[in-house]
Each structure stands twice: as C-alpha cells, then as structure tokens.
Symmetry: C2
Subunit: 511 residues, 2 copies
Amino acid sequence: MEYFHVNFGNDHKKEDGGSNLKPMDSEQLREYGHKMVDFIADYYKNIESFPVLSQVQPGYLRGLLPESAPTRPETLQDVLQDVQTKIFPGVTHWQSPDYFAYFPSNSSVAGFLGEMLSAGINMVGFSWITSPAATELEMIVLDWLAKALKLPDNFLSTGEGGGVIQGTASEAVLVVLLAARDKILRAVGKELIGKLVVYASDQTHSALQKACQIAGIHPENCRFLKTDSSTEYALSPNSLREALSQDLATGLIPFFLCATVGTTSSTAVDPLLALGHIAKSNGMWLHVDAAYAGSACVCPEFRHYLDGVEEADSFNMNAHKWFLTNFDCSALWVKDRSALIQALSTNPEYLKNKASQANLVVDYKDWQIPLGRRFRSLKLWMVLRLYGLENLQAYVKNHIELAKRFEEFVSEDSRFEVVAHRKFSLVCFCLLPPQNDEDLANKLNRDLLDAVNSSGKIFISHTVLSGKYVLRFAVGAPLTEERHVIAAWKVLQDEAAALLRNSSKMTDSFA
Amino acid sequence: MEYFHVNFGNDHKKEDGGSNLKPMDSEQLREYGHKMVDFIADYYKNIESFPVLSQVQPGYLRGLLPESAPTRPETLQDVLQDVQTKIFPGVTHWQSPDYFAYFPSNSSVAGFLGEMLSAGINMVGFSWITSPAATELEMIVLDWLAKALKLPDNFLSTGEGGGVIQGTASEAVLVVLLAARDKILRAVGKELIGKLVVYASDQTHSALQKACQIAGIHPENCRFLKTDSSTEYALSPNSLREALSQDLATGLIPFFLCATVGTTSSTAVDPLLALGHIAKSNGMWLHVDAAYAGSACVCPEFRHYLDGVEEADSFNMNAHKWFLTNFDCSALWVKDRSALIQALSTNPEYLKNKASQANLVVDYKDWQIPLGRRFRSLKLWMVLRLYGLENLQAYVKNHIELAKRFEEFVSEDSRFEVVAHRKFSLVCFCLLPPQNDEDLANKLNRDLLDAVNSSGKIFISHTVLSGKYVLRFAVGAPLTEERHVIAAWKVLQDEAAALLRNSSKMTDSFA
C-alpha cells in the first residue's frame, strides 16, 4: 500500500522527560510543515491510484494501532508511515476525480491555503474583540458572495440582516428554525410549542427533521408533503395550501417553511416565489436551502432558480460543496439578524467587553450553536480572490457540461434510463430490468451500485424516487475531467452487462 | 505594519476565462503550500512583535477591502500582503506568549500538521463508509485519551459507551442535554417538556443556558444555584438537595445535572461524587464539564479532581484549550451511546449503506448536531504520538508552576490581593482600592484591565465573583515562558502604580 515514499530526517530527538518541550517552535513548524506539504502534494499526485471508496472491513483499524497513547514521543516519519499504510486504506477519497457520490466536497489549493492560515493563526473568534478581523472579514466576504448570488440587499450586513458562516447546512437550518420558533413563541406563549407546525417537501434534506427533533417540534407536526414526478419532485404550492388550511382549521400554528433549490435526491427546485407568497400571507418564516445548487446560481444562466428568494427570511448555500472552499464553510444569510440573536445569545460576565456592551459590533457567537469559532472566512476570501468569479463560474459550468455528457451516454444506451430531469451536475438514472420486473429492477440497481463501488474504480450513491431505486451520478470533484466521466460510464456499462448476463441466465434457469 | 517580508514569484498567470482552471493541481499545491508554511513560520517567529489584543476600531476593515469579489484572479502575493497589512492588525494573537485572557486555545506543530492533513484529505465523515479511518481513528484515539484520564471503562468504545469529537463544549453539553431530555420525555410524555428541570451552579458556563434555550427547557426551570467563597464557588450538595425537594414538591421533573471541574470564572471544582449520588438517586443525567481543567487531569497529581466521574453519564474536555490540539477538538464521552443516537439520528434513503444498515459500525452523524464532519481525530492522534503523554503532562504542569509563580508575585505585593483559591493555571486577583472603597475597587480594576490590554503588551480578561470585579490571569499559551510571566507582572505593577497615583490625586483634590 505504499503509493509514494517520504523520507524524513530524525524528528523529535528529545530524550528527557519533556520539561523543555517546545510545542510551537517556528523553525520546527517550518521544517515539518514543508514535509507535510510534500506529503499532501504527493497524495494528490497519486490520488487516482487509490480505490475511491475504501474497501476495508468494519473494525479494521483497531488491531493496527496500540491500545493506548505512547508515553514517549514518536517520530513524524513513523506517523506519516502509518498514515500511508494504515489510514489511507480506510479513506474514501472525496477528492478523487472518480468520486461521483452524494454531492461533492471540494478541496482546492486556495481553500487549502486558507485552512492552513486559519490553523496557523488559531484564534477563537466568538466575540468581535477576540479577533476583529475574523468577524469583519466574514461580514465582508459574505456580502461579496451575496452580491455574486444577486441576493436582495436586505441580506447584506449593511442593513438589518447579514451573513454568517455555519459549519454545515444542518446547523444553518437549525439556527433559523430556532429563531423562527422563539419569535412565534414570544407572540403566542411558550406553552404552545406543541402546536407549532413546520412545512417542507418530502424531498427536503433530513437536516430539517433533525432540527425539528432538536428544537422540540413534535414529529407529528412536521409536514413533509408528498411530491412526485408530475412536479419533478418540487413542492406544489397547492399541496402546501391544503395542508395549511387543514392545520389552521384544527388550531395548529404554522410557523416555518423550508424550500429547497436542488434537493439531495434529484436536485429538484421548489417554486420559491409562489411558496414565498404563501409563507408571507401566513406569517411563516421561509428558509431556502440551496446547499448544493447555490454554487451554480453564481452563473447568470442558472440564477433564475433563485427567483423568489427575495421572499425568503433566510438563505443557505454550502461553499464547501461545489465552490472550492474546503470543508466546513456553509454560508447563511438572514434578513433580520435580531431574530437569530434573540434565540441564541447569552451574555456572561467573563465575555463582556466595551465594544460588545456598546453594541458597536457583531458577535457571531450569538448567530450560531457553539461559542468558539474558527477563522473560516479566510479560506472563502482566498478562493474568491485567487480564482475570481469568472473562473468559479466556468468551473461550475464545466461540471454541468460533464453531467450533460453523462446524461447523453445514459440516454443513448437502451439498457438504461434517465430518471428525473437533470438541472445541475447530478444525473439520476437506472438500469432497466430485462422483463420490466419492478422488484428485479431495484435489486439489479442495488447490485450495480455494489459492483461499481466494490471495484474501487468509481464511487456513486443512490436514492429512492417514487419507490424506485435510483442511481445518482454527481459530477463535482475538482480534479474530474471529461476522461473520468467517460471511464466511469464504461465501468457502469461493463458491470451492467455482466449483471444482465447473470440475471438473464438466472431467469432462463428458472423459466 | 510590515513585520516581515514575503517575496513570491508570479502566481496565477492565467489570462483566459478560466475554462482550464486547475483548482487542485498537486504541483501548485506544493509550490504555494511551501510559501504558506514559511509565511506561518515567520508569523510565529515574529509573534511577540504584535499587540496581543488587536487595537483596531469597529468597522476598520470595511474601507480597506473592495466592495465585491474580483472577477479575475489575484495573486497569492497580493493576498498575503493584505493578510499582513490588513488582517494581522485586526487579529488578537491567542498564540502570543503574552496572551493570558479567557482560557488558552493551543496551537502546536503537531496540531497544525494534523489540521493540514485533515484539510488535505478533506473528506466528510458523516457515516463510517464515507471514510472508515476517520470514524475508527476517532474511536481509538478517544479511547486512548479516556485511558490517559483514567475514565471508567464504561466510557470506552468497546462497551455501550464511547467517545466522540465535538466542535466545542457548547455542542457537547447540548447533545447530552438532548439525549437526557428525549430519554425522560419518552418516559413521561413529550407534552411535559415544560416541567423538566436542569440543575447546575451559577458558575456553570453559559453554554448550558444556551443549550437549555435551544432544547426548549423553560428558563424558569433552569436552576443555576448560588455559590460563594465558602465553598470556593463549588456547587454545594445541600443546596442541590434543597432545590430538588422544592421542585419535586411542586410536581416538576428534575432530569439533568451539570457539574463542572474547573469553572470559567475561577476554576472551581464541583464535588462530583456527592453530586453523582444525588443525581443517581433522582434518576438524573449527570454531565461533567471539564472543558479547561480536563487537560490537567492527565497528570497523576491532579487526577483526584475527577474523583466521582464514575457516577457521570457523560464527560467532556477540550483538547483544543490546553492540550496542544488546534481548535476545534472537544472530546465528549458517554456511557450510553444509544441515548445520544435516539435523540440525534435520522436515516434518509440517500445515506443508507450496507455497513450502517447491518448495524456493524458507528455513524458519528448520529452523535452530533451537524451531518458532515472533518477528520479531526488526526490532529489529536498526532499530538498524542508526536509529544507523548509524559511531555504533555510536563507541559501542563509547567503552566501550573508559572501560575503559582504569578500568584506569589501578587501575594507579595500588598497593593494586590489573590481572590479565590488557585487550583490550576488561572490566578484570580485584584488591585485593592486606597480607602477600601468597594465602588472605587471595581472601577480601579476595570481601568487596570483597560490599561494593560490597551498597551498591547499583554492580554488578560476579567470576571465578577460575589459582586466583585476580578482580574483573570490564565497561563496556557504554548510559547509562554517564565520571562513572559515576569514581564506581565511588571506591566500590571506599572499600570497599577500609575492608576493609584492618579486615583490618590483625585481623592486629594476632592478632599
């Protein structure tokens, strides 16, 4: 499993009990940092030689490592050796050009440099005073990104709203759900929490269900409204109106609507404008989750998918998915920051300071679940500056073109079928069963998924749409080129042919 | 503001529209990564030349940066120049050896290397399958740390419990509060959420209050029991018993007790064993927050502060505070992982996979708020291996010795007073007012805090204990040596002398 070699000098020669440990010596950081850069650059150089999906068995690592931490120091050479021989086999390589599963999680040189710098400065920016630059750069860079997305001005930090970097879209939807919950409970009384109702389509990410669990919204008050192929899995305003009128008739209190631009299963786009009007006339908070597809909306030709976002109270996109910013960096904008702050602020004595007390500054601790926070705006700033918006648009468009190419491959092969309309860089498709047998169809596609993923050559994932087991091919890894898409299609065709041969043999033998 | 110089070649010469952008080219990563290593190493080399606490005014950065993101790429040289001239002035340098505020947030060479590697691999480890190594290394390394802390075996991953890395202690207390909340609500019915009561001392970190807000525990059911100097600000079992019996008498439902080992204000230690017995006999979940002081408890001579932890249901310490692991890395252990999972799991189709469905693996997404998660165990693993436990113990002990030294300085100067008993590396103290005037005392210490922090020479913070404004001097930055503590004391003495001169002048002139 030695894909490349590292050769270090003698690290950590210290032989005493550690009383003169210098854990942050600048010259040691320099020496070891350079070694680590080479190690990581070599990883990327050789990334195509790894199985994309890790092929290890559960529990593989336990026997390979000692049962307890070492008493004395070990060398960096030993650790990196272990990374190669023990850790890498257990890594699923999200940055591999042959990775097409879930949604992408981009790394880039700029994003990586931003992570390095953030780890180097290693400040904890809970309040403005703990590093003014961290708070202010975040405000500015999220204004930049809001402008690139042509979000309405009331999402900018210069008004009553503003942007904030959350860890993930799950945290984004949770904090706005809490803001909306507490806003309505202030009006109706907190004992009515059991009457609050949340609306979304059944295609909405499970993060919303989890947020509701956390916030104490009763599961029976979460309306995940059924969608189907007739609306291309988008939430129908009519079904929302129906649900609302039923709930209002029984004395329940609708307060939150989550719309999605680019659902996880099939990148469906909910009709924001129509949903926004319903939300507004019912006094509900509208959150728009564009975690994945938001990146595409910086391109003029895809911006129309956000039409109606002006009706939303909050909007989220993950720069760490498809926007070259290393994980984690989930951008959230709200129109009314005071609602967030009212739900999430605390003000203990030991954190008080003049700037905060005078209300002169933003303290992002009150916009998020945790207290501490890293300097994440650095990496987004570096991505935007080192690549520039034109390059970023071209990057996303190229993936969409590659997905279109893959869609054509599927369409041209009569053994396969494209399922759901492709909008961005995800293609949903399936292998057709020999005798139109639905049960066999699901098994066949499950087997195809297993076969291609076990080959280590590519990694794809799946979903279920209208009861049908569907394969998902998501283009979006930074190193993916046309040749990788062509090769992936070949892998799928070959494994499919083998499966169909076996299945027709089996059908024959049972005939 | 140019503390050091960097000189790069021409970066990003690309002149086309970006169609051939290579955002993850291994050789570009190598070239730029080396530059960034040197930039960060130089930062540490020069770190003492910066004002510790940033001296900028609110809004300073807005005018220094453009109003929107660039269309075309900029050079790394330009960006790093801006980091030096525009960002660094707005950074509060947590890694400066002259940083003594709040609690420390350690960076180290090993921790930094771990961050680099994690950012390089950039996988998103929500489920085992998305990188088995990430999940399994985390389980193993938290077992290592549990053993180093001599936690009871039922916190190990080999039984019904196990460890998990959370971002912060705030998230740690939130997830266990949710686990405890849902456990009791399953028994009594979810409509009784308004009757649930949480207990802790008034010295407990505000993270608990925030967790209660999020979880929908009514504020009037949060008992932050009063402490004072008679118990050295520890929670008295008697006051807990009293509160419990009152609440039980009125039909409320006690369900959660948070004890602290090393409170934020004064590092008070709650009596775990006595509190644990009360919690157990009342069917309450006991969480132990040792976010800061947990690091000291790897030393045999300080382990006794954890006596009684065997009665706890969950235990938390922040490796990112005082254990050389870069932010964020908050280690949480639970005895019953199923309680966590029941509160936090979701199981959408698009994340299903054989290993998870067969219940063969841990999926950490169900132990935390977010879905996605970084490969944070790498940095903790590297810290433990590259330094070894002996060095880490010596590191912590050295800071405690330095704090003891500082405490002696204060004791020997009759103008000052040590407030609260020092246990670890935090010294609480204050400047005594000339005429024993309490109002003047608070103002005097506020002014002293302002004076030393505005000098840029050191950064300390404050708290209030029994109504008294108290200065906090927390030793724990990785570069802090005896000479820095001596110099800090000199700064404090000089500024105090100047303040006392002025205040006696003022007193004279009003006399």
